[in-house]
């Protein structure tokens, strides 16, 4: 793997107890994220997705391994990484504008009030909440609250955006609209994104790469699915694309069957340090040699003692 990747995660491990015999929640987690990539991570509850995100955010500590972002080790929270929380985490005593201004002031403490307001307004407009600046979160719908959460995270212009199941609590219609908005904002800003989701369709719509985690304990990243659908995909036309169902079936099959079986092979070979193989199920069957395609971004394997 290139040493110039924007984000490098190496041998990440999390265990909630040091007692011998307790299995770590996950271990041997290795992956890279390039600048501008949109990564989704999928896996069953309990595999440690949220913990990985919290470690990237600096809110949780790993039991082992390293995270390096932009050539610096991640240790503790930083304004370089914006987080969108599942529960939106807006401060209910502040208005929409002030919630975002709180973040902006944290980022640029010396900015004057007028500039802060203008900066906030830009991001309020971006998530299409214009006219709601003076409302309190309790006066907003669930979707609007999450939009404020997204605006707040974007407003500090972080190097990387971390989203922990941001749309989990929203109804399908609202979810769709915000997905489209997120997609267009990310396309505009070239934002690097790491997002947890349970929704396979959401992952295919948004992500450039989808990481699949095996079941915990001792979970790992089993493989990385490269989304081969064109970048210009939209929610309206995505399911007409011939590759869509190939990718979708691959993901669903992984969640339903392979997440367990893959885990068994990992357990039987605990010393394997592996970069998860990258696969392109969308291209399968279109080339003469699908197996070769599967092997293209060859997994780097090395054996330790």
């Amino acid at each position: 793997m290139s040493s110039h990747s924007f984000l490098q995660v190496r041998q990440l491990r999390k265990s909630y107890s040091d007692a011998p015999g307790t299995k770590p929640v996950f271990h041997a987690v290795n992956f890279d994220i390039e600048k501008g990539e949109f990564i989704c991570i999928i896996g069953h509850s309990g595999c440690g997705k949220s913990t990985i995100l919290n470690i990237l955010a600096g809110l949780d500590e790993a039991s082992g391994g390293t995270v390096i972002m932009d050539a610096r080790e991640v240790a503790g929270p930083s304004l370089d990484r914006g987080v969108v929380f599942q529960s939106h985490a807006l401060m209910p005593w502040l208005t929409v504008l002030k919630n975002i201004a709180f973040a902006v002031k944290s980022r640029w403490p010396n900015l004057n009030e007028e500039k802060i307001k203008a900066h906030c307004q830009k991001y309020i407009d971006l998530v299409r909440l214009t006219g709601n600046e003076q409302k309190k979160p309790s006066q907003l719908s669930g979707g609007m609250k999450q939009r404020v959460g997204i605006a707040r995270a974007f407003a500090i212009e972080p190097k990387m955006l971390l989203l922990d199941e941001p749309f989990g609590a929203l109804d399908a219609l609202t979810r769709g609209t915000i997905q489209d908005e997120l997609l267009s904002i990310c396309a505009k800003t070239q934002q690097t994104v790491f997002m947890i989701t349970h929704d396979v369709d959401e992952a295919i719509l948004l992500a450039d790469k989808i990481m699949l985690m095996s079941n915990g304990p001792e979970a790992r990243i089993a493989e990385i699915v490269v989304n081969t659908l064109p970048k210009t995909r939209t929610r309206a036309d995505i399911h007409h694309h011939p590759q869509f169902y190939k990718i979708r079936n691959h993901l669903v099959d992984f969640l339903v069957n392979r997440s367990k079986t893959v885990q068994q092979t990992f357990v039987s070979d605990p010393n394997l340090i592996a970069f998860p193989p990258q696969v392109m199920p969308g291209l399968e069957g279109n080339t003469a040699d699908p197996v070769a395609v599967n092997k293209v971004p060859s997994p780097v394997l090395k054996q330790i003692k």
Binding site: A57, G58, L59, P77, S78, L79, R81, G82, V83, F85, S87, A89, M91, P92, W93, L94, F102, A103, S106, R107, K136, P137, S138, I156
Partner: protein
């Protein structure tokens, strides 16, 4: 009858107000009947009657509502007169009591709120201080009075100390509780934004815990107002508590009842003030 009911105002608060007035009227009527002097028409033995009290109307000794009303009007017309140590207007007495309550209460707030913050933020300090709090909390504030009088050697300051010691606990415990209960998410937001400790305390923890802290202050103020009456009865000199005791010694039940009414009204106003403050800091999640 039905048309009459229909013509009545429909708003719940208007109905409640009417019912309150009816209850008040019934109460005053019963009071009046129970205390009004009965003319002892004993024509049988006028000599004996004269001997026993000059044929004066027989009373229970308790004042009638009209007498209270009279005292009320008289006091309210001139609440701040001062005819020496044992005859001061009700306004002056209440002002003394309020001044003691407010100074004791503010001192308690100055100690309890920062300490509560500390306890709420640090599980270690919470556990270390908890035994002391648990032992000190149930002590009747008046039990401190002899100790306060001996050490402070000033009765007025001692009553302020008693107010201080009784109002500190609800504020301390509620502040600690509110601070410890601030939603993890909000603290995480502050963390990811690299917010400094003071900015976090004033802009995240304080507003988040404010409703709980205000509840503690409201309870403290209620207790302080209860305790000041008893404390002033003990130390004497000035204040509404002293006024009650003094009027008892004067055998003026009219003034005692009037003072009881005033204690209730002032207590209610204090509580209402805190109610307004509480509403101002309460947020809807």
């Amino acid at each position: 009858m039905k048309t009459l009911l229909r013509s009545l105002p429909t708003s719940l608060s208007t109905k409640a107000a009417i019912l309150s007035l009816v209850l008040l009227a019934v109460f005053l009527l019963v009071w009046h009947i129970a205390t009004v002097p009965i003319a002892t028409a004993s024509a049988t033995d006028t000599e004996y009657a004269k001997l026993m009290g000059g044929g004066a109307p027989k009373t229970t000794g308790l004042p009638t509502p009209a007498q209270i009303g009279e005292a009320l009007l008289k006091q309210i017309r001139d609440p701040f007169y001062d005819n020496g140590p044992n005859d001061k207007g009700i306004g002056i007495q209440i002002a003394y009591s309020l001044a003691r309550v407010l100074s004791g209460f503010l001192l308690a707030a100055l100690v309890a709120i920062p300490l509560g913050f500390l306890i709420g933020m640090s599980p270690l300090i919470y556990r270390a201080l908890n035994p002391f709090i648990q032992v000190l909390k149930p002590i009747s504030p008046l039990a401190w009075m002899p100790l306060a009088l001996y050490t402070i050697k000033d009765s007025a300051t001692s009553s302020i100390f008693v107010i201080f010691i009784c109002s500190i606990w609800p504020m301390l415990i509620n502040t600690a509780h509110g601070v410890a209960g601030v939603r993890r998410d909000w603290l995480n937001v502050a963390k990811t934004l690299e917010v400094g400790i003071f900015r976090k305390a004033f802009w995240v923890v304080l507003p988040a815990a404010a409703p709980t802290i205000l509840t503690g202050m409201r309870i403290s103020m209620g207790i302080a107002w209860l305790v000041i009456v008893a404390a002033e009865m003990l130390v004497g000199g000035t204040g509404i508590g002293y006024f009650v005791w003094n009027e008892w010694n004067n055998l003026s039940l009219t003034n005692v009842i009037f003072a009881i009414l005033m204690i209730g009204v002032v207590g209610m106003l204090l509580d209402m003030m805190f109610g307004v403050l509480q509403r101002a800091v309460t947020y809807v999640e």
